[in-house]
């Protein structure tokens, strides 16, 4: 049963990743083609055909392919660098325990042991990334390590292990790097333009470079328009269903719904955003790391705009699961005493 589900999930993720990369390449090529048209390298003939050398189109396609490949192979490193994570070493008893728990969950999931990383941040959170289970990383915050007991940690790591097993990590990483990258670039260019960019200076002191200036303006405007669309796409591409599924799979690994429940409840009480998380990486985390993103709404619009289901919903689903198991399983006596 579980095995079949898992193959289906993996297939879905492969398809989504391919779709994402395809869309990305198409957009990039379209951008190159637009620029070709703009500077007159490619033009419409009188008969309605196209003529000229579309070499910016080609260049854009090549750059796009290189970027996609770099994202696939180096995406994990990029993500880890952007959240300022460092490799987790057994320097303290506490960190040794985290490494051990990761190993425990790898045994439970029958998967290779992922590498471990740490973010020095008091906000309790965690994420997993990588291109496949053999090249995967689990990253936890110091805040998580401080607030969780061993069983709760197992629940959280189990959740991340589920994302790894189902290849969610690959899709999420490509989204983070490709889409998040464009959004970030656009943000950057946008700010650069309005706050002392070259166009502002050029306006005052130059007469030449008119066409180049116009070109830059067009790119900037294009990116400025694209940025919010990309952020939107990003949120929509991230299926909130994944989080529910990973919670359920974590329980399948640990056979202990109560621990994950406690972990989520603990995290829910702490409203502290993660310093180095951004819109580009927020969807990777077990709970939304952004400021003020923990509202308990689940309307149509929230579905479109949010990368995470509300924590209260996830807790409710786990409680339902717990009620289910305690009526039939051996855990009933323990559940009652809690």
């Amino acid at each position: 049963m579980a095995a079949a589900d898992f193959w289906a999930l993996e297939r879905t993720n492969r398809r989504e990743t391919a779709l994402l990369v395809g869309t990305f390449l198409a957009l990039f090529t379209a951008l190159g083609f637009g620029l070709d048209l703009l500077i007159g390298e490619v033009y419409f003939t009188d008969t309605g055909g196209l003529a000229g050398m579309p070499f910016l189109t080609g260049a854009a396609l090549i750059v796009g392919i290189i970027q996609a490949l770099a994202s696939y192979y180096g995406g994990a490193r990029l993500v880890l660098a952007s959240v300022h994570a460092r490799e987790l070493t057994p320097d303290t008893q506490q960190h040794q325990t985290v490494l051990n728990v990761i190993q425990e969950m790898a045994v439970a999931a029958q998967m290779p042991v992922p590498r471990a990383y740490l973010i020095d941040d008091p906000a309790p959170n965690a994420f997993a990334t990588g291109r496949d289970p053999a090249h995967s990383v689990i990253c936890v915050t110091q805040g998580l390590v401080n607030t969780m007991d061993r069983e709760e940690l197992q629940g959280v790591i189990g959740h991340e292990m589920a994302h790894i097993r189902d290849y969610d990590i690959r899709t999420m990483m490509m989204i983070a790097v490709l889409v998040g990258g464009i959004a970030m670039l656009a943000d950057f260019v946008y700010r650069w333009m309005w706050f002392g960019g070259p166009s502002a200076r050029r306006r005052s002191n130059s007469e030449g470079g008119g066409s180049a200036g116009a070109l830059i303006m067009v790119i900037v405007l294009l990116l400025a328009v694209l940025a919010p669309i990309f952020s939107q796409l990003l949120a929509m591409a991230v299926s909130r269903e994944r989080e529910y599924l990973a919670d359920a799979t974590s329980v399948e690994f640990t056979r202990n719904p109560r621990a994950l429940l406690r972990a989520l409840e603990t995290i829910a009480t702490v409203e502290s955003p993660l310093r180095n998380a951004s819109r580009g990486t927020a969807h990777l985390f077990i709970v939304n790391p952004l400021e003020g993103a923990r509202e308990d709404k689940e309307g149509f619009l929230d579905n479109l705009l949010s990368t995470h289901p509300p924590l209260s919903r996830r807790i409710a689903r786990l409680q339902a699961l717990l009620a289910q198991t305690s009526t039939e399983g051996t855990a009933s006596t323990q559940a009652a005493s809690h």
Partner: protein, 188 residues
């Protein structure tokens, strides 16, 4: 007509090969899962003498618990066959659970770095053992189902695939929840 018969036979052969291969693959996975368990069992056998040595001085009043663990370990290592080995290992699991629980009553152990390190190592070994057993049982269940259901049961009997026994936990083991040091308050 001849063509139809050939196609039907070909389809049957393909199905049979697929069924056979799935059985072999599952059987190998079960063996691999057993090897995982074995690794953890060896690891705890190696750990126990060190831990006992480290806590002996502090725990004068727990002679019984300590000797129980030492004896269970000896039984497990010298077990002549699979069944008695499983039984001895189950006793060892229960004994270690008790030992780790009793250790909570000795706060002075918390300041001994060697004990803390060994304790953590033993805890994770016990947890990995229980997860490995869980994975093993899941796989065994899948293999057994495959052997029983039609049409793979025909192939299974033909090629000598046998159902594998599930690893049952000792009764005491079920009463002791997964070893958890940080909570400390849980009673068996």
């Amino acid at each position: 007509m001849g063509l139809v018969i050939i196609i039907v036979i070909a389809a049957l052969v393909v199905a049979a090969v697929g069924g056979y291969n799935s059985l072999v693959s599952l059987r190998n996975q079960v063996q691999n899962a057993w090897a995982q368990i074995d690794v953890q069992l060896k690891r705890r056998h190696d750990l126990i003498p060190n831990l006992i040595e480290a806590v002996k001085g502090y725990m004068q009043f727990e002679r019984d618990t300590l000797t129980q663990v030492v004896e269970a370990r000896a039984h497990a290592i010298s077990a002549p066959d699979q069944a008695s080995r499983v039984q001895a290992e189950n006793q060892l699991t229960a004994g270690l659970g008790r030992l780790l629980a009793v250790m909570e009553n000795y706060p002075q152990l918390k300041s001994d770095q060697t004990v803390l390190r060994l304790q953590e190592e033993l805890t994770t070994t016990e947890n990995q053992l229980s997860f490995a057993r869980q994975a093993y049982n899941d796989l065994v269940m899948r293999l057994n189902t495959r052997i029983e259901v039609f049409p793979t049961n025909l192939i299974a009997t033909q090629f000598g695939f046998h159902e594998v026994e599930l690893l049952k936990a000792a009764p005491e083991d079920q009463a002791v929840p997964k070893v958890d040091l940080s909570l400390g308050t849980k009673q068996a």
